[in-house]
């Protein structure tokens, strides 16, 4: 049964790959933040008037952010303080409760933004402003500058 064998070994490779993937939290959190950045970009294009307001796209942006917020703290396990080009601040591990509260607030604010479902550009501006304030507040406390 060569095909079964191939399937099994392929699965093994996939499992190994996903384990390796899960063991690189720095890469995971950077990908997660890039997704949030992409959502912020789509929101900002509408706010700046580069693209017309689209209620579905607005909702999708908040949904992406909310999805990311749910697993976000798990990407900062003990032992991932340094490495790669991480810009995570040591304060994430020194003040774990504060960090988790900041992420929880992001989750709450994005959930509220989804529930509010802004129907026009002015409503969207206000809702997005509230959500985006989380970026700076959290980055100020828990991110270091590095270039």
């Amino acid at each position: 049964m060569p095909s079964k064998k191939i399937f099994l070994s392929l699965s093994a490779v996939l499992v190994a790959a996903s384990v390796a993937y899960a063991q690189d939290p720095i890469s995971d959190r950077q990908k997660a933040m890039k997704m949030v950045g992409g959502a912020a970009k789509s929101a900002s294009e509408m706010i700046k008037g580069e693209k017309p307001f689209d209620a579905a796209a607005a909702l999708a942006a908040f949904q992406t952010m909310n999805d990311v917020s749910k697993d976000f703290v798990s990407y900062f396990p003990e032992g991932s303080e340094t490495g790669g080009d991480t810009t995570a601040s040591p304060k994430i591990w020194e003040d774990r409760a504060g960090f988790e509260a900041a992420v929880a607030k992001f989750e709450t604010d994005t959930a509220e933004a989804i529930a509010a479902a802004p129907a026009d550009l002015d409503a969207f501006k206000a809702t997005f402003g509230k959500v985006a304030a989380n970026c700076g507040v959290c980055h100020k406390a828990y991110r270091i500058s590095k270039n």
């Binding site: 900002s44 985006a132 980055h139 100020k140 500058s145 270039n147």
Partner: protein
């Protein structure tokens, strides 16, 4: 032997006298204040300068947001290689803040780094930048600060290492690094109103160079490396260069820079961190034309 000892003592005395003379705190010339005779303080402009100058980033209580940023109770501790600087209360409290200050006191603090009692301030307070501010703007800012809420929070003591704890030595530092001469010359800017405004905001109230310009061993901004980026003054990480160079802002348009100052978002929708997050939060309250002026100025700075 006795003669040697005498010579040493004499040298010591002369050296001490010279040091004392060179390091005396200098105040502004009285004639400076003639410029605001009859000047009616403009609170709107005062508020713009309050945000542009980032007063709240250091002087509000740590971690506050919203209207609480206008309560300038102090309390933040700046941890640097020179020591730990406790930021003072500058709310209008008569006992703990600047409630009893005259406008001359305020101007001497901002432009000369000298306290009302005539002592040197440490340059953790960025007076080497604020020295570029006009006396009219200081008058507007002072009027704005005077009407903010009072906090009765007492100042915490600073903990500064020898020899930097000898305050008088700052007189020498000021001889080297404190003046109101522009970094980028008038000739480089032509008569461009927007560039002149940008220079004023960046070199003066915005005090961008304090973090983005590398410092000499004695802790002064190296004007020859203006805005080239530097180690973080608070230890962690590195402050990026913001010249028009390849690794700096070359790929940013002026509107990218202005948008980052307003929202904290970079062109690839990263959101700026550490103390720049505060700067962006503050500059959201500054007129768009000022953010654009800063962007225009930064785009002409060569690496």
């Amino acid at each position: 032997m006795k003669r040697l000892l005498l010579a040493l003592v004499a040298n010591g005395l002369i050296g001490g006298a010279v040091f004392w003379f060179l390091t005396a705190p200098q105040k502004l010339d009285e004639s400076m204040f003639a410029a605001i005779d009859g000047h009616e303080p403009d609170l709107g402009n005062g508020e713009t300068l309050f945000w542009a100058g980032g007063c709240a980033s250091c002087h509000a209580a740590p971690k506050v947001s919203g209207d609480a940023k206008k309560v300038l109770s102090g309390g933040l501790v700046l941890t640097t290689e020179f020591g730990d600087f406790a930021v003072p209360n500058i709310s209008p409290s008569r006992e703990h803040g600047l409630g009893n200050w005259s406008f001359e006191d305020f101007s001497n603090a901002m432009k000369k780094g000298v306290s009302p009692e005539g002592r040197h301030y440490y340059p953790a307070f960025p007076y080497a930048s604020y020295a570029h501010m006009t006396i009219e703007d200081l008058s507007d800012l002072f009027a704005f600060l005077k009407q903010l809420p009072v906090s009765e929070e007492a100042d915490k003591p600073s903990d500064i290492a020898f020899p930097f704890n000898v305050r008088r030595g700052l007189g020498l530092w000021k001889k080297l690094y404190l003046n109101d001469k522009s970094v980028i010359s008038d000739a480089a800017l032509g008569d461009d109103e927007q560039l002149l405004r940008g220079r004023y905001l960046v070199e003066g109230p915005g005090h961008c160079g304090e973090c983005h310009t590398p410092r000499s061993l004695a802790g002064g901004m190296q004007r020859s490396n203006w805005l080239q980026g530097a180690p973080s003054p608070e230890g962690e990480g590195r402050i990026p260069g913001i010249t028009n160079g390849p690794d700096n802002l070359e790929s940013w348009s002026e509107s990218d820079i202005a948008y980052m100052l307003e929202t904290g978002f970079t062109p690839d929708f990263d959101s700026v961190g550490s103390s720049m997050a505060d700067v962006a939060a503050n500059y959201a309250f500054v007129p768009a034309s000022d953010r654009e002026a800063i962007a225009a100025y930064l785009k002409i700075i060569q690496p």
